[in-house]
Amino acid sequence: MEIQVRGLSRRYFSEGREIRALDGVDLTIPANRIFTLLGPSGCGKTTLLRCIVGLESPDAGEIVIGGETVFSKAQGISVPPEKRGLGMVFQTYAIWPHMNVFDNVAYPLQVRGVARDAVRERVARTLEFVQLEGYESRPATKLSGGQQQRVALARALVAEPKVILFDEPLSNLDAKLREETRKELKAFLGKLNITALYVTHDRVEALALSDLIAVMRAGRLVEMGTPQKIYFDADTQFVADFIGRANLVKARVRAQEAQRTLVDCALGAIACQRRDLPVGAEVTLCIRPEFIHVAPGAGAGENVVNGRIESQAFVGESYESEIRAGGELLLARIEPHARLATGDAVHFRLDPAHGLLVAR
């Protein structure tokens, strides 16, 4: 089911100050895709999710789920959460501590008045789907974090909602379990024909899980696109910086070519990915550390940058090195067996496709 959000605003008053958690958000979430809202904490992503599910009332705007208007300030419509027929996985899982696994999962069916046998059968099927068969009579609070997460997912899926919402569901797990659960979740969602709205502040999670990502900042939608588009081709400096580690260098557009844009910056004259920017415009050149492939010694040629290793930190899979080049300090990844030492002269050639220009 498609979700449409139009002109949604939500204000809070905290200690006498007005906080705009949502500031006129327009958004269309296409049906049967995994859609992620990504942003730093306090950007309004959770508020937006809670408005869609009906746990918060916006101050203005409209929400339409699958053609049905569930909220409209202008028309005075506000469907309560229990009538919206959605599924949701909470950040804390919200597993009811006084019920066992079966009762937790059966709950959405029981409150809908589904017959006892059908409840049993559908709960069993859902538990099998999340690989928790045989856990029915366990007290829900005695499960591990990952298992509780799957109970929460089963509960959200059991009534076969057309939309399922996730509010940072992995943030309570430790790093290793988080990665496993993320893969599991992607596999589960891949098998279902369902619209999923996922909220997170973790960029890796967003990139790995989503079909589409919308990046939010200060109550507004900044940019939307596929993970690849957001990562390689961000339109704004904020998104480019937020979605991954990036070296940001101030630059000025010198000339436009058919395939490339040429800029001047502290690193010298650099050819970049083509962007429609006027000659002379002040821009930011964004280079991700993983695209800086350094080689020992000095080099020459187009897009070749010379520098010197200023510091190195061994982080396991690589060295994280800072390279001083033309007055700029660039972060780069160096292979662990490269045998380069602090103070060594190095150079690298930047592929124009990896030189991303964003407006300042």
Binding site: F90, W96, M99, Y107, A152, R155, A159
Partner: protein, 563 residues
């Protein structure tokens, strides 16, 4: 959703507002009126009469000494006990939990009476024994004195003070102390320079609560102060309205106004302090284990002191009452005393129509009042914790207000109200006044139970398609059962022993247990008093056991058959 919540909040506001504001307003209006039958006719005579009375100065002085003395003593003892329990390797730590809970089950009135039986100057058992042992001319102790009152009141306020200080001490970050030790301070200096200052808000809060409670205390001054003619404000006000004298509710209200004002002010200071102390207590549960201080050679003597205190607070009062209920007249325990034991007092009391009526009334008030009170508390707790609008904030302040109500003063306020209504001299008047005075004892456990229910648990039920009502029934109420049980126990055991409000509002036909016991005490009928007192303690204990049993069964039933 928001609209139903707003409607709920406003109707609660009306109910709680009536319960708490009505007696205060009536007290204020009454203090300016000429008399119960001439309500609203303005006069200042009552204030002049009450405050210009030559006896008033003596009463104020006694009150100040009694209140400050007992609060300081209770707080010092509580700090001592809390420190021993949380920070040292003292043996039998289970004793501390008993010490902090059980004394609350023993009504203040009976506690005072038992100390009178032990330490009164004419035939107190301890005094008689000591006189015989050391061939003394005069009794060594006189509990009918200001010192005696201070001691007994301090022991009564000790459990509450302990319950405030001990959790603060337990949840306080030991790293603060450890760093003091690392920088070269010894345990004693660390205690004085680091531990106590950090705990200051909690200690002050316990002290202020002690002041409020002893200011409102009626049982101790009535039982121990009156025989020695030591009057404090509470007993002074009672004299003005008690039936034997010529009652003057106007003067009582005029004096009550200043007691009430002092209590309300102090209770808001207390509230600010507890908020402050919660700010201090901000360690996250990182699974740390505080290092215990080894008491070494002091371990056994210190434990002896704690054991002695437990004996004085739990065993002695009950034992004395039980013993007195079986002997024909006051005598020191001996072979002869045991051979003379009789059930006469028990049969007398159980055949006394007035005692039986009091028993019936008290049971009705305890069960009915606690049930109504808990029902109201559930909604108030919900509104205060989960709704959080401005109206809910006012509701919280209002329900907290009655925490400061001195029973006798609020009784006088309600008297001015009930006399204008057909409720006067009915059991319903007592019920309403009980609810108003003891509402916080229901609201506080409920509020903390609601705090523990994460809002996600409730919201996920709504998202699953359950209505607000289903969510309340299937999610919230089952999770609240422990809170409900403890609120019910607390309120019912308060109501079964209620004395201070009843002493003003009870009329022939609406006597309650405590009133009947007080009557026996005034007449010196110690045997009958003890028998009825044991009945009262037994009811309190039975209530606790029954409520526990029901609570355990209910949560098991919910867990098993939720389908």
């Amino acid at each position: 959703m928001d609209r139903t919540r707003a409607r709920l909040t406003y109707s609660l506001l009306a109910m709680v507002g009536f319960l708490t504001v009505c007696p205060v307003v009536m007290l204020a209006l009454g203090s300016f009126s000429e008399g119960l039958t001439a309500f609203g006719r303005f006069t200042l005579d009552k204030y002049i009469g009450a405050y210009a009375d030559p006896a008033f100065f003596r009463v104020m002085l006694n009150t100040a000494l009694f209140v400050l003395g007992s609060s300081v003593l209770a707080t010092v003892l509580a700090v001592f006990l809390a420190y021993l329990n949380t920070r040292t390797d003292i043996p039998f730590k289970g004793l501390f939990a008993i010490l902090s809970i059980i004394p609350m089950m023993i009504p203040h009135l009976l506690f005072s009476v038992s100390w009178a039986l032990l330490l009164n100057p004419s035939n107190g058992m301890v005094n008689t024994v000591l006189k015989g042992l050391f061939s003394l001319e005069r009794a060594p102790f006189n509990v009918y004195s200001l010192e005696g009152m201070i001691l007994v009141e301090a022991l009564l306020d000790l459990p509450i003070a302990y319950l405030i200080i001990a959790p603060a001490m337990r949840s306080f970050d030991v790293a603060l102390e450890e760093s003091s030790r690392v920088f070269g301070a010894g345990p004693w200096r660390t205690l004085v320079r680091v531990t106590l200052p950090v705990l200051r808000p909690a200690i002050l809060a316990a002290f202020i609560l002690g002041v409020v409670r002893s200011l409102a205390s009626f049982a101790v001054p009535q039982v121990l102060g009156m025989p020695g003619r030591v009057s404090v404000l509470a007993t002074h006000i009672y004299e003005m309205v008690s039936l034997g004298f010529s009652p003057d509710y106007g003067k009582a209200a005029a004096l009550g106004m200043s007691v009430l004002a002092a209590s309300v002010t102090l209770i808001y200071v207390y509230r600010a302090l507890t908020a402050e102390s919660e700010k201090y207590v901000t360690i996250a549960g990182r699974g740390y284990r505080p290092t215990l201080i080894e008491l070494g050679r002091a371990r056994i003597p210190l434990f002896g002191a704690v054991a002695l205190l437990s004996l004085a607070m739990i065993v002695l009062p009950v034992a004395v009452l039980l013993y007195t209920s079986f002997v024909p007249y006051t005598m020191v325990p001996s072979a002869r005393a045991f051979s003379m034991m009789t059930l006469k007092h028990w049969t007398d009391v159980l055949n006394d129509p007035l005692s039986l009526l009091a028993l019936k009334n008290s049971l009705f008030l305890a069960v009915g009042g606690a049930t109504l009170g808990v029902l109201l508390s559930i909604f108030v707790g919900y509104a205060v914790v989960k709704v959080r609008t401005r109206a809910a904030g006012i509701l919280e302040s209002l329900s907290f207000l009655s925490f400061s109500f001195p029973g006798i003063v609020i009784g006088v306020g309600f008297m001015w109200f009930f006399v204008q209504t057909p409720l006067y001299a009915t059991i319903w008047a007592l019920l309403i006044a009980y609810l108003a005075t003891y509402l916080p004892y229901g609201v506080r456990p409920m509020a903390s139970a609601f705090v523990q229910i994460h809002s996600h648990l409730e919201e996920s039920s709504l998202v699953c398609g359950a209505s607000q009502l289903t969510t309340l029934r299937r999610i919230i109420v089952p999770l609240l059962v422990p809170g409900i049980v403890s609120a019910w126990i607390l309120m019912a055991s308060m109501f079964v022993r209620e004395l201070t409000v009843s002493v003003v509002l009870s009329r022939p036909g609406t006597e309650v247990l405590a009133i009947q016991i007080l009557r026996f005490s005034d007449d010196g009928l110690w045997g009958k008093l003890s028998a009825l007192g044991i009945v009262m303690i037994a009811i309190s204990t039975a209530l606790v056991l029954a409520a526990n049993f029901v609570g355990a069964r209910y949560s098991r039933a919910v867990a098993a058959g939720a389908g």
